[in-house]
């Protein structure tokens, strides 16, 4: 049996920019994999190669061993794209019914709508749906064909906490049914919470492909946090082996590969240090240390 999802030394070049560089991975049936990376890392490009929306400049993308553009492959794939729209004067039911007709063995329409939690909005035109309901409609469209593989590209962007919780639970449920699921995200805790396997991609290059635990253990960095009554400035840390330094009203936080040396120096300088904590980095920090990216502006 060929792998369900496969990138085989795939590269994608847009003019001078190489969005994906020689990326290879294989995903087997029933795996739930998160493709993780900062914005512009090449996650969406990788997905478009696997969906057959774009052709690799070099290498191959395969679904069930077939070209992703093969209709037999597409008939087993469901997808929720980051940016997509549907005719706004059609109702939820009509849209799910329409998209079901593309697939050989679709779910009953009402069941797909129920899975997305849109039963009450079934007769509403899509233009009247709220942002969260609209996301759920795209979810219904992704699953209505009862596909064996489902791709979710940044599915929880713009969802509130509750919708996100429900949504992640339903993805897990699909994985338990033996569906193969790949989702892209830059929410790191989402990948940690959901996936059994995380593929980290940065600047088009695959930098890690492992379980969340392994990814965390790879990280040498420790996180140091403390509070201080002395008015510390970034200049006070000059020359020390620290990264991701943050000083605000909550105190000082930093990452370091040699925490002992940093602490020794701080104590030597006789700074006032309270509530000192030294911990292993969480996934977010692990991620930063793997990709070498500066801390995202969002956090």
């Amino acid at each position: 049996m060929p792998p369900v999802i496969e990138l085989d030394h795939a590269s994608k070049r847009f003019g001078h920019i190489e969005a994906v560089k020689d990326v290879s991975f294989e995903i087997g049936q029933g795996e739930l994999v998160a493709l993780l990376g900062p914005n512009g890392a090449g996650k969406t490009t990788s997905i478009t190669l696997l969906l057959g929306l774009r052709t690799p400049s070099a290498g191959h993308a395969r679904i069930f061993g077939l070209s992703p553009t093969d209709r037999r492959a597409r008939s087993r794939v469901g997808v929720m794209l980051q940016e997509s729209g549907v005719p706004d004067t059609l109702t939820v039911h009509e849209l799910v019914d329409l998209f079901s007709s593309y697939y050989p063995h679709p779910l009953p329409v009402d069941q797909a709508i129920g899975l997305a939690g849109l039963t009450e909005q079934s007769k509403q035109q899509s233009r009247k749906l709220s942002g969260g309901q609209r996301q759920r409609l795209y979810f219904a469209l992704a699953v209505c064909g009862d596909p064996d593989v489902i791709f979710f590209d940044e599915p929880t962007v713009g969802m509130d906490v509750e919708s996100r919780r429900v949504f992640l639970a339903s993805i897990k449920q699909f994985a338990e049914q033996g569906k193969t699921i790949m989702l892209t995200t830059h929410y790191l805790e989402e990948a940690d919470e959901l996936a059994e396997r995380i593929i980290v991609i940065d600047r088009g290059v695959l930098v890690a492909d492992a379980s969340p635990t392994e990814i965390k253990s790879r990280v040498l960095a420790k996180r140091i946090a403390f509070r201080s009554s002395s008015h510390l400035r970034e200049a006070d840390f000059e020359g020390l082996p620290v990264t991701n330094l943050k000083i605000d009203e909550k105190g000082v936080r930093l990452l370091s590969n040699s925490p002992e040396a940093v602490l020794r120096e701080l104590f030597r300088r006789n700074l006032d240090i309270k509530d000192l904590q030294v911990t292993g980095a969480d996934l977010e920090e692990a991620f930063l240390s793997i990709t070498g990216q500066p801390e995202p502006a969002a956090s």
Binding site: L81, S84, T89, Y103
Partner: protein, 265 residues
């Protein structure tokens, strides 16, 4: 990589059913969109009623009432509208909301989506024509034989082909908002210059000589032949329409390729 043999051959959904669902969905979506349905179904009837009230009792020539003449003219307008706006604004809107992207990722062959557009346009054209025929017969006292109606229908469908090409060129090239402006800026003047909105012989001769080049002029000529108010033979009109169709579809295909290459390569 060994050639992949699947344990169970992956089936695909029947294309006929897909096409049917796709067409019905378009029909429902368009009918519920007042901008489109009023433009396509309402305006031609409204213009007919207005000009019929003013000039309806006069005659264009012996045996042909003014009402008959403008009913045929507004029929060309109605079918032309559907060609230009359905493809022009419809395809541009699909592209703008990235429905094209989503559909591409589906097991829906791209040609099915395009054929559905064409089938829809045919069905909608027949609806528009039926409404005009009923209003023309009842209000305008238009009396045409069954053969004339059939002749008019195929001439309208064939004659509007260049306008489908024009609509596709706009729809695959322009954004949703510019598509609407562009369609109106190109199509509406063509109607005036071709004698569809105003009688051709009242136009200044320089304007007439421009008008005679336009696809809409030959389209109208083709339609008027059914009631004998044409000045051009069916053969000449068809040749012009064939030429314009080839030219405009070639342009549309080129623009389509550019759009697809940019998004899907």
């Amino acid at each position: 990589m060994s050639s992949a043999v699947l344990a169970t051959p992956a089936a695909t959904a029947p294309v006929g059913r897909m096409l049917w669902k796709q067409t019905v969905a378009l029909l429902l979506a368009r009918l519920r969109n007042p901008a489109f349905s009023v433009l396509s179904l309402g305006l031609p009837v409204m213009f007919f009623l207005l000009f019929n009230a003013i000039f309806g009792s006069q005659h264009v020539k012996t045996g042909v009432s003014y009402a008959t003449q403008i009913m045929v003219s507004y029929a060309t307008y109605a079918v032309g509208n559907i060609s230009v706006y359905n493809f022009g604004i419809g395809l541009a809107t699909d592209r703008e909301r990235k429905l094209d992207l989503l559909q591409r990722a589906m097991p829906l062959p791209p040609w099915v989506a395009i054929v559905a557009y064409i089938v829809f346009a045919l069905v909608f054209a027949l609806i528009a024509l039926a409404i005009l025929a009923i209003v023309g017969t009842i209000v305008g006292g238009v009396r045409l034989g069954a053969g004339t109606w059939v002749g008019l229908t195929w001439r309208l469908l064939v004659g509007s082909l260049p306008l489908i090409g024009l609509g596709m060129a706009i729809g695959y090239g322009a954004s949703a908002s510019t598509a609407s402006a562009l369609a109106n800026m190109i199509y509406l003047p063509m109607l005036f210059l071709s004698g569809i909105f105003v009688p051709f012989n009242v136009l200044p001769s320089t304007i007439q000589s421009i008008g005679k080049f336009l696809p809409t002029y030959h389209y109208a000529q083709l339609a008027w032949q059914t009631i004998g108010t044409n000045t051009e033979s069916t053969f000449t009109a068809l040749m012009w329409i064939a030429g314009w169709s080839i030219a405009l579809f070639a342009v549309a295909l080129r623009i389509y390729r550019l759009d697809v290459d940019q998004k899907f390569r």
